[in-house]
Amino acid sequence: MSEQFEPVIVGFLCNWCSYRAADLAGTSRIHYAPNMRPIRVMCSGRVDPQFVLKALREGADGVMIAGCHPGECHYVEGNIKTLRRYHLLKNLLRQWGIEDERFQLVWASASEGIVLAEAVNRMTEQVRALGPLDWKDTVIGINGRGSFSKVETASLVEEG
């Protein structure tokens, strides 16, 4: 591949802090990676784990959830629920063979445009280094059927 791989990161940003942080990053003219596709949710606690899995299946190379700092949630404890889900979901994703860097949780308050921008930059580079995820084609598609050929069984014996 001659062109540099540009990862697609789906970002779920909470309405009260992180979406405003993204707004602030924009109005402050902070330059940062354009790889995150923001989706505004009312609270990071609104992010159903199904959203994350679906994003990864449908072509995202990484998923970021961003919300208010613990203790600053508009709904008091929504982001603490997010944190609980996040750790469990991360353990789960590891079992599916998805690297930790592809799923990140970021706390960014409405005044922290720079924090969000830096997190997006950092994650973009990490995911870029990992390469495309391409779940539909490389995991579901190609690996779907297939039989064991003589060559494959031979290599298995050597390894075994």
Binding site: E77, R145, G146
Partner: protein
């Protein structure tokens, strides 16, 4: 065989344990009614029919075919296509055909690893020459063939269109009989069949609704596997830290497991409107963990919560024990970004 005018019944096992067959026999003496009403056209476990007999039937000859078992190899898939062609009503019967069930747990690893565990790398295996099944073996009499073993286990509806689903591992006998009655009424008395794609023989609410255990506010600080704790009788298991999939599982079984101290493992599959049962259960579990509150130190909070979640061993196997093939991601990625199927890194 002479046609006696009775509706034709078929049942087939693909990648399954045989428990679904036992469940059908568990409808008790009603099995005699099944025999009286239906003409058995194909049922390898109960009657001597060959695949060739099925191939010779005209299309749509079998009125009701209960297909149990997942699609694990090319033989399973071939039979799925054949029985779809020969059946008027094809039912994905039991959790394997419906959503992959236990066989689909091997979607967490590769075909090569599965074969290696079964034939090579296992304490109880005595296979010094490392013999593995081969698709084609040449012997003096000619070539012998075996079905090819797939990398990914699939549910029945991932290879052919399915009319109805009956969940459960295995489906409960009274539910099986209830479904048979509906179909018999349609076949013999012209009653209307349920809409295609329906889930039959199950409820619409969560298992918790049927569960008789006492439920209070759930606040847990550690997870236990069933062998690690003797649960207090009569009290909700989830409240005691045992991962019970009741909140994310469809009712219909009568909540049999929790009543005897075993947590619900989720065999009746997701509720209506849910695509991924495991993700929903993960979400539910997160809300009952009572560690960390607003105002705690950020790093401490992070560590405390992580420590609790790490006590839940094997989340993928726990949350997707029955629904791996129908989950959003369907299988694990076993070899990074390589396009090679399998890989044994």
């Amino acid at each position: 065989m002479a046609d006696n005018g009775k509706p034709k019944f078929g049942m087939y096992w693909a990648s399954s344990c045989g428990g679904c067959e036992i469940a059908v026999l568990n409808i008790g003496d009603k099995i005699l009614d099944v025999d009286a009403i239906f003409d058995i056209a194909f049922w390898p476990v109960a009657a001597d029919f060959k695949y060739e007999d099925v191939r010779n039937y005209p299309d749509g000859y079998i009125d009701l075919c209960l297909f149990n078992g997942a699609i694990r190899n090319s033989e399973n898939e071939e039979m799925a296509h054949l029985l779809r062609q020969k059946s008027k009503v094809l039912v994905a019967f039991g959790s394997c055909a419906y959503e992959g069930c236990i066989p689909a747990l091997s979607n967490l690893t590769s075909r090569e690893k599965t074969l290696s565990t079964v034939y090579l790398d296992n304490l109880t295996i005595d296979n010094p020459e490392g013999t593995l099944p081969k698709e084609v073996s040449t012997v003096p009499e000619g070539d012998l063939t075996l079905p090819s073993f797939y990398h990914t286990v699939m549910a029945l509806d991932q290879v052919v269109p399915v009319d109805y689903y009956i969940p459960g591992c295995p489906p409960e006998p009274e539910q099986i009989w209830a479904v048979l009655e509906v179909v018999v009424n349609a076949l013999l008395h012209g009653a209307e069949l349920p809409p295609s794609g329906s889930i039959l023989g199950a409820g619409k609410v969560a298992v918790c609704e049927e569960c008789i255990l006492e439920k209070n506010v759930k606040r847990i600080t550690q997870f236990y596997r069933p062998y690690e704790i003797i649960p207090q009788p009569g009290l909700c298991l989830l409240e005691q830290g045992v991962v019970c999939l009741g909140p994310a599982t469809r009712s219909g079984c009568g909540a049999l497991c929790p009543q005897v101290g075993m947590p619900c493992r989720g065999c009746y599959g997701p509720l209506d409107g849910v695509e991924d049962q495991g993700a929903k259960m993960l979400s539910a579990i997160a809300s009952v963990v009572d560690v960390g509150k607003a105002g705690d130190d950020e790093h401490q909070l992070d560590e405390d919560i992580k420590a609790v979640m790490d006590t839940l061993v094997d989340p993928a196997g726990t949350f997707y024990r029955f629904s791996m093939a129908h989950s959003l991601l369907r299988r694990a990625r076993v070899n990074g970004n390589s396009n090679e199927a399998g890989g044994d890194q």
